[in-house]
Symmetry: C2
Subunit: 155 residues, 2 copies
DNA sequence: GGAATCAGGACTAAAGTGGTCCTGTATGTC
DNA sequence: GACATACAGGACCACTTTAGTCCTGATTCC
């Protein structure tokens, strides 16, 4: 569906939240409260981001998470990569099936170009950009952004 | 997962195939053979594209499909819109839940911008561009394009 | 020692997707 | 006019993916 998963959505929100205080350590519970996401869920996201190196974690009492580097050095694309793995707009249908025809496929080269363009669009936005958003209020997962009204048939 | 569905992948391939002979009418069965996609499946895709106005259909014997307008006037984004509905990178998690906070959400405006950028990247590629690809051989659904190796953690 | 907190993974329920099939309608041919 | 062909529209099922939770460790602070 060319849509980010909910966990990734949470990830962006969480990272944006942490970017507001880059040096402060936040416990998962606090992040959950601030973002209004359930603790186990936000915890899952935090762990993945940590493993990807985007966050630094501290165990034990007084432990928690903080950004692995400055907000300006972390892009939205990197967060997506961390939570969804290899960035690929399309994927081979029957694994090994039609895709054994890769050499014959005329659209492959173009997809690569398109994929790259999309990636750059996402790589061009850093957490610093996200923080500089309108309000300074709590960051809550949102979305449901429809750029254009379904060009859905005339019908 | 920020990934196109298989049907959409098929859609692009089908459209690219039809774009090679914009005025010729192709029966679903022929398209299936050319693209190596099962008839019922390719038929489903064709019907959706037709309803969206991207294809013109003709019933009855000697019937089939052809492009609704010239290849240069049909973009990849339009094909995606036709098959996946409203173009939205993100979607509100709990419908009505956290999203009732839209006015407070600091990331919304940025998502809109990002979403728009991605859309333009896809809108900038027409079927004419896709046809001008490398080989002139049969167009088969492919993909599995990984622009960059999962920036997956150091771990 | 005990409380707090992350690490890692297993597990389940729900949602989404892919793919097929059935019934109906329109059109060309004989 | 009968019949074969081909699209229209939707129902349906199997499978995969996703979201969300929970459990068992390991680590750190007080």
């Amino acid at each position: 569906m060319l849509k980010l998963s909910k966990l990734t959505d949470y990830g962006i929100v969480v990272m944006t939240h942490l970017a507001q205080e880059p040096y402060q350590v936040h416990a998962a519970g606090d992040v959950a409260v601030a973002t209004r996401v359930a603790v186990p869920t936000v915890s899952k996201v935090l762990k993945r981001l940590s493993r990807a190196g985007l966050l630094v974690s501290a165990r034990g009492s007084k432990g928690g998470y903080r950004l692995g580097r400055m907000p300006a050095a972390i892009s939205v694309a990197q967060v997506i990569d961390a939570l969804e793995g290899p960035f690929a707009i399309t994927e081979c249908a029957s694994d090994g099936g039609s895709c054994s025809q890769e050499s014959h496929c005329a659209v492959r080269a173009n997809w690569q170009r398109i994929n790259d363009t999309v990636w750059h669009a996402l790589a061009g936005v850093s957490l610093a950009d996200m923080v500089m958003a309108p309000a300074g209020e709590s960051v809550v997962p949102v979305s449901a952004i429809t750029v254009r009204p379904a060009r859905r048939a005339s019908r």
